[in-house]
Chain length 363, copies 4
């Protein structure tokens, strides 16, 4: 049922990713121009919703932003209103502040909220919907681990950055006859490592979904040192050996112990050098994958997502999330969208294709 939107809120939650500003633009511009609504930007994700930090967006605010990385609204990982950290003591004590969010929503006079974020944000959006807020979700994740959409924006940009890095490593690895390890993002889902590994021509790809055997890797790399004379190993940060040690750089918790330095990328490099005596180097890409100007793909998808989210709001389709299915953006129910995380199926076409071109997964 179509509704009249006079004031619409926009919020970006969770980790930032390339394309957020394209979404914001494509909601705010038509809202201001065609719907004649006020557009209220909530700052720093749900943290800003609880704390009451907002900014009205003008047409000028959203002009010239489609190619910018990050988000003009800011974001935060810490703002789940249902488990909100008290006194800013980094999450030790948490309180349910969701009523505060509903109050602010009312007080600001919002007719609808478009929440852009990952599964965490969609979960919160779903729970706030049950409390009566009019929400449409826009999925975003560089990890591509949402099952309810064919792909999210942000992933393509991250893939591109990681692939270009591997391209660069290829020439130096082959010139020096070395082993080079590159650690990319992906704590639970290995899509970035898999995609960039295939695109960049990595020889070994290690992902969380396929626990690896150290000896398989040592053998593979050793054999290559006698033929091609070099190897590129692309490691997801959540990759783990099959002997059960789930070694992961815990970037989101406090790292108080200096001995705990070194993520799986460095560990893989150190162990290979130790076992095979081959010169080994490591690159840890880190947040380079998350920042910077979005790819054309992500800008286009973000623009379609934003426009369609506003359409959904105008039609009163709340409690939904926009989603790409084939060529079309459709809406799915939020409760369905948050059910399944999308991991790499070990029998997926891309895994098959990677094995076909000779990639070793360490299994």
């Amino acid at each position: 049922m179509a509704i009249v939107i006079k004031r619409i809120g926009i919020l970006t939650g969770g980790g930032d990713c390339p394309g957020l500003n394209a979404v914001i633009r494509s909601i705010a511009k038509p809202a201001l121009t065609f719907i004649n609504a006020k557009v209220i930007g909530i700052l720093d994700g749900f943290e800003g919703f609880v704390e009451g930090r907002i900014r009205e967006l003008t047409k000028l605010d959203v002009t010239g932003i489609v190619n910018l990385g990050g988000t003009i609204l800011g974001t935060s990982n810490k703002g789940d209103p249902f488990h909100y950290p008290r006194d800013g003591t980094s999450g030790v004590m948490v309180t349910d502040c969701s009523d505060l969010v509903v109050d602010n929503y009312r007080q600001w006079g919002l007719d609808a909220l478009i929440a852009i974020g990952g599964d965490g944000t969609m979960n919160i959006a779903h729970n706030l919907t049950k409390k009566g807020m009019n929400i449409v979700g826009v999925p975003k994740t560089i990890d591509n681990d949402l099952d309810a959409t064919d792909i999210t924006f942000g992933h393509d940009s991250a893939l591109q950055v990681a692939t270009e890095a591997i391209d660069r490593l290829q020439t130096t690895a082959s010139a020096h006859h070395r082993v080079i390890v590159i650690e990319v993002m992906g704590r639970y889902a290995g899509w970035i490592a898999l995609g960039a590994g295939v695109a960049g021509g990595a020889d070994v790809i290690l992902i969380p979904e396929i626990p690896f055997n150290w000896d398989v890797i040592f053998d593979f790399v050793w054999k290559r040192s006698k033929g091609a004379r070099y190897s590129i190993i692309c490691v997801a940060e959540g990759a783990k050996p099959e002997d059960g040690h789930h070694i992961i750089k815990e970037q989101d918790s406090k790292r108080t112990d200096p001995i705990r330095l070194g993520g799986i990328g460095e560990i893989v490099a150190a162990r290979i050098q130790e076992e095979t005596k081959l010169e080994t180097r490591v690159t840890v890409l880190g947040h380079v994958q998350r920042g910077g100007s979005p790819s054309a793909f992500d800008r286009i998808l973000g623009t379609k997502f934003g426009t369609m989210a506003l359409h959904a709001a105008s039609r009163g389709e709340f409690g939904t999330m926009v989603s790409l299915r084939g060529r079309d953006v459709v809406t799915v129910k939020l409760e369905d969208a948050i059910k399944h995380q999308r991991l790499v199926p070990p029998d997926s076409q891309l895994i098959m294709a990677a094995r076909a071109v000779g990639v070793c997964f360490g299994d």
Copy 2:
């Protein structure tokens, strides 16, 4: 019905596009390693098939090529064997040489052929299938104008190049308060102009599917010169004014008349400057969009396409073309694949999204 493939041919036809080598790699590597087949590269598309130019591909030949633009096999626009130019006299007289192709196919002992190309190549492949050749097609076009697949490889790279160019033009246009016109590829389908225009934040997008009105453009640009003070106009090479003059740079025919210089991009720039007296500049991207290292997206899609085409051949599914549907690569019949060209529907979501962010299409 699965068949034993001992010798498999690969051919790249039509205009080159980024990702061709990714496809070749992902056919040749598993064919050599897992199937233990010989891989015969046919050089320069169907021209090489007629003329008998082939090269056996080794594993080394297809190593380190995934990130290279172009095609290691070469290609040609001139090689339709059913209408083959005689004596190389540039197409004045044509002959049906298709029997020669079938003979060569037999003589070379091929069990299957994988033909990578656009609609022209798929048409030829379809007709050769009827003559008994075992063919699987792999679709490729930077224009994205094939209806039988959600997307083809090559298009994403072209979009990215065109978008980066518009990004660059934005800063100089705004610094100088100028009008800048950029002409991109797309003689019949406007997908590149539309996608890059939206991604790059163009103010006006002109595509073949939406004939434009000169006065609408003059007015729009003039008004912007009083507000934002600059405009970016992204023009597909096949864009045309609605008054019926289909002006197009005929790059594929001989340009013997020096007065016929200047494509639609230059004409649009000249007319805007003439009518509005605003300083106007023009960029003609040309084949920059076609060359260079493919995007991660295109390398991944190309790799999946190649692997799946070989699978299809192994299963004896000839007369088919691989196609992306949602997340999956499937096969469709060649005769269905060639039925429809995919133009930009004027009511498509991307057109709607573009209008929503304020793009003028000149209509």
Copy 3:
């Protein structure tokens, strides 16, 4: 003699080029922080000086701009105060408005002005110095045609953009066995065509300093079509045949005659195709070379230039221009700086190097 600077003006004149914002930042930040001066940005070059358009710059205004193309101050080609167009009638009638500039300078209470621009801007700065204004110049030109400095910022970014374009053309030219012409900037000086041509591996380079012979080019390209089978031709927009026809796209004048479409790039392409019957394509890079994020080199040089210009102003060294000599930025007198345009010497090391690797200059 050191002076106390309480108010300092900054102006960017002439065509924009990558690195302008790096210069602005490196003047404004220390002026605000260390010198405690007010920083007055003059908008749109000397046009804004005449018209009285200024904006005081805060620290926030110059934060996060080092990587942006264009100029946050705007620029203009039309603002020579000594020959200022009356009534905006595009230069038909001009008046000397230099006294107005001196008045504004006084009225705004400026102690010094830093003028960033090319030879046009330096000439104006020199003449205004004679009228008593305290000016330090910062040289800028993408064409690299200033003799008084080893290099200017902006040129490196333009070279990089043009080189990447040629890289892309290489793959498509070789895949298709074609001739591809790329027209780059350089109306009088061929540095961009020469540098990008050498860096990109062009086969033919045509620059204004070496008039070319049509037949030499036709022969060269024809021979290559029998061997390497393709050619890349990099043409400066000011290149001309030795038979005296100086054909150039007159972008700065009104183009009222549609028949005058087509610059030297298109003419070269058309004539080669006509004479050799080889398929020929053309790219006109245009302002893509001028815009976009500056290269690291240009940002660093710009930062050094800006800082040193402010130093020079603090020491009272007016009527000077900063200049790179070897590794060091020094100051030279404005009157010396504007004496010589720097064209490509036909016996320069880079020409020799280009010939050594086989480049044809058409002579």
Copy 4:
């Protein structure tokens, strides 16, 4: 005194860097075409000279390589013939094999050798010159730490890669209000960290030449967290705190102790997070800086260096190294070239400029 060169050797030693192939091309092409000499490529640096691994280079071998990273000849860090590791036991026992090199030089009939490399290679070249070999050196180092030339090729490409990475980190750091540390190359000289830090707009730059004080950094970052709300810290791998702990990732020695993981970048990140409780992330760029397609600048400089090195050899100027001085490539004596390493002078213009725009060096 001019000599006749019938056979000329080329060798690339030390770490690879972008631009090596441009040098090789610009030696080999004119040698083959104009001088009519044979060109002998020595594989894998001086290791290949000792072991006798050579390959004659044809024109085809050096065509289309100007834009490729790495080196088509391979390289090695382990091949100092004066201290050559016996039995491949990684340097435990070393022998003087220089006579073997001289013998091979004679046996292969070389009239001259052009040795491309860093200070290690130039030292070896100098010592082999004393044994009668005709050598011209070409300086190369991504670190830019050779005093005898204004700049070497390779450095600009590394700067560009590191700068683009910082650009990307800017958007994500600001979106999340985080501290982000990026570790770049530079064990002894901080030119990459300094240049990329200035170009990318880093807030803190830590280089080996300026030992840092932890508390200064903690204070600086903490204050920024209250204003700009984020910080970017660019750390050279050889940066060290002033309290004497020279912490460095020892990549060239065997890393047998898994506890020794983590270079200075990770240590800085861990300590900042520990002390300030601000969320901190780290990127370790590693060999991404060393590989990939060279910048236009490096290709052009490499081309000039190669051509001029061949000229020097033709004139019999042996025991020399080519060097950039201002705009010109000149030759300097090898014995002078190897005298001084070029570190960042704490009072250099670029340090001054960096401080002027507000960079904290931790001192």
